[in-house]
């Protein structure tokens, strides 16, 4: 059962990811990216990361992708401004290197996944919940958590400066 859900979600995820890459229109790309992110949230649920699944939908599929769509709308690209995509050599080498990378990752996974400790068959039902993540985030990882708040502040200031009318 779990395997069936995994396989269906994985197929949806791969197909939507490929569609993100091959679509000509950025809006269609963004829509398929949202679908891919939602499929990934289902995988998080399978992996007992319920908090991250919710965050994935709210922050990624919600906030970040709305920002993307907003910028696409702001740019208001005409059909001819999508730009020429005909670069045979570049496409050939891009596909070649992507396939090589995948083969390399596959070989690494196959070669290096021996001698791992036995997987946990059943975990604490609290595992991956908001309580467990928050507990860790506000004790052991308090400093990185605070640093991310500074990072977000810098990002806000940077975004406003970059998007000013006169640069």
């Amino acid at each position: 059962m779990e395997l069936a859900i995994f396989l269906i979600t994985a197929i949806v995820l791969v197909i939507t990811a490929i569609l993100v890459v091959v679509q000509r229109n950025p809006v269609a790309s963004a829509m398929f990216l949202i679908a891919a992110l939602c499929a990934q949230a289902i995988l998080y649920l399978l992996l007992q990361a319920s908090f991250l699944a919710v965050i994935q939908i709210i922050v990624y599929a919600g906030a970040i992708m709305v920002l993307f769509l907003f910028v696409i709308m702001l740019l208001n690209l005409k059909k001819d401004e999508f730009g020429p995509e005909k670069r045979r050599a570049q496409r050939f080498f891009g596909i070649l290197f992507a396939v090589l990378l995948f083969v390399e990752i596959g070989a690494l996974v196959k070669l290096s996944l021996t001698g791992l400790p036995q997987a946990y068959k059943s975990l604490d039902p609290e595992f991956g919940g908001a309580h467990a993540v928050g507990q860790l985030l506000f004790t052991d990882y308090l400093f990185p958590f605070e640093v991310t708040s500074v990072l977000l502040l810098v990002a806000i200031v940077g975004a406003i400066v970059m998007a000013k009318r006169k640069l």
């Binding site: 993100v20 993307f68 400790p117």
Partner: protein, 100 residues
Amino acid sequence: MVPLSYYLILSGLIFSVGVLGFLTRRNILIIFMCIELMLNAVNLSLVAFAREFGLMQGQVFVFLVMTVAAAEAAVGLAIIIAFFRNKKSANVDDLNLMKW
């Protein structure tokens, strides 16, 4: 339970698709989306490892990666807007101001 290697292969596949888009597309917005795709592939493998070892640390790391991705999206899209305002184009071939 789904084996860890399935998740890692899936993650590698998504990452490769992201790399493919990054290398072949010319539209800066789609290139940016491919970066998000790659970040998500890495997140997936982190969560899979967290499940495998029964440790929460991987999930905390994914949380931090998401924060960085949000910051990166905000700044990157602002740069795209500035680029479009100056060049009236969304094609990376026109992004040659600092090219020698």
